[in-house]
Point group: C2
Chain length 235, copies 2
């Protein structure tokens, strides 16, 4: 009998923000897989879930070489889909740990696309970086009938501006080396004053500050900028 594949959201960073379901399934699955840098440094998803991973599990690091401005090559996921498929075919349940929520910019979707049609698969939603950053910033994302746009910072400048101008509130993801560009766009649209910068939300070394107070021209990958129209801020 074939095993089952689980894509499990482990939340934004605080190990206490795992769901009960994530903890139970991590305990029950035979194989625990997680994305990891190809340079052998620690997997963020594994680190978040570490307190809940029993010692006797088979672990599989899905090593994806990260080149700035590029997405991992298809052949990397082809290869890991075969390896995970072998576990499933041998009757082993496999949990793939995902930072935040599996289906919000999560790399799990590439494995899902390769395995879900041929294997029993369940996706377990997790606390996303969106809700976590808003919570830590102490600023609601959207209320009433406001529109929220979730916009990746790597978009080119004109595109970024066009996407932000129509939204009541924006969450700008994947800031990284695009910080200066994001600053320029927000300044042009009059949204710089209200923008909040959140780095490594819910982790011990979290940073939360007005974007105006942030020095430098780049930010880590795990950072987000929340910017609302001035008139969209709740009374």
């Amino acid at each position: 009998m074939s095993g089952k594949l689980y894509g499990i959201g482990v939340g934004p960073g605080d190990p206490e923000l795992l769901t009960l379901k994530a903890v139970r399934l991590i305990g029950e699955c035979d194989v625990i897989a997680y994305p990891a840098p190809a340079d052998g440094t620690e997997s963020m998803a594994r680190k978040i879930a570490a307190p809940h991973i029993p010692a006797n599990k088979t672990e599989l690091a899905i090593e994806t070489p990260m080149v700035p401005g590029q997405f991992p090559a298809n052949d990397v996921y082809d290869r890991y889909a075969i390896e995970i498929g072998d576990h499933l075919n041998a009757g082993r349940d496999v949990a793939v740990l995902c930072e935040g929520d599996p289906f919000l910019y999560g790399s799990f979707m590439y494995l899902f696309g390769r395995l879900a049609t041929s294997h029993d698969t369940d996706v377990i939603p997790g606390v996303s970086s969106l809700g976590a950053c808003a919570a830590r910033a102490g600023q609601p994302l959207v209320s009433r009938n406001q529109v929220l746009s979730v916009v990746p910072a790597p978009l080119d400048e004109a595109d970024l501006e066009a996407r932000i101008v129509t939204a009541d509130a924006v969450a700008i993801m994947k800031v990284g080396r695009h910080l200066e560009k994001v600053r320029r766009v927000l300044a042009k649209l009059g949204r710089l004053d209200n923008a909040i910068y959140v780095e490594r939300a819910t982790l011990d070394d979290e940073k939360v500050m007005p974007l105006m107070n942030l020095d430098g021209d780049r930010a880590p990958y795990f950072s987000m900028i929340l910017a609302r129209r001035a008139e969209a801020v709740d009374a």
Copy 2:
């Protein structure tokens, strides 16, 4: 010494999708508050968290009269903010349970706006309906550098169209009696074929189907439509 106010996301419906932190704080707080219909019917947030609420807690139903097309009156929240403030001033910790995530269209933000400046407050993010609906639909929300717009269905038709046309993927919330309007807009934009309807995600009576297969002209409040550009669907 004053008590602490917690806004606690209890997730989309499955009680196993509460976070460990939500469960711990519900156990520790002295007062458990939750939004509830004014007609005495059951509170959704309380129902989700019910397996985790100890029997000895003081409970407070925040009864908000719901009139279609209107938001609850400010005086309702003024009144409950005073009642919760009294508990806090008496040294009692108060947990306000919130469906999904507290800061994504959650009514907790009205209490937060009234109490957070004067009382120690912490917001605990929860699994949002966004991630839950995508997980249950088996369809990623966004990947790579795609833009996601979260759009409330009550917007007028032209506005709804303008917000949807620029996004790679949209999550249309609060469908309710706006179903026909949403169908017209998606049809006009060529996005009806790919649209998925999700009702009461992760609950026992959940419904997931192509929007094309949904009969009728209205949907419950706890429903969502996910619609992506055809070319935005992952290979």
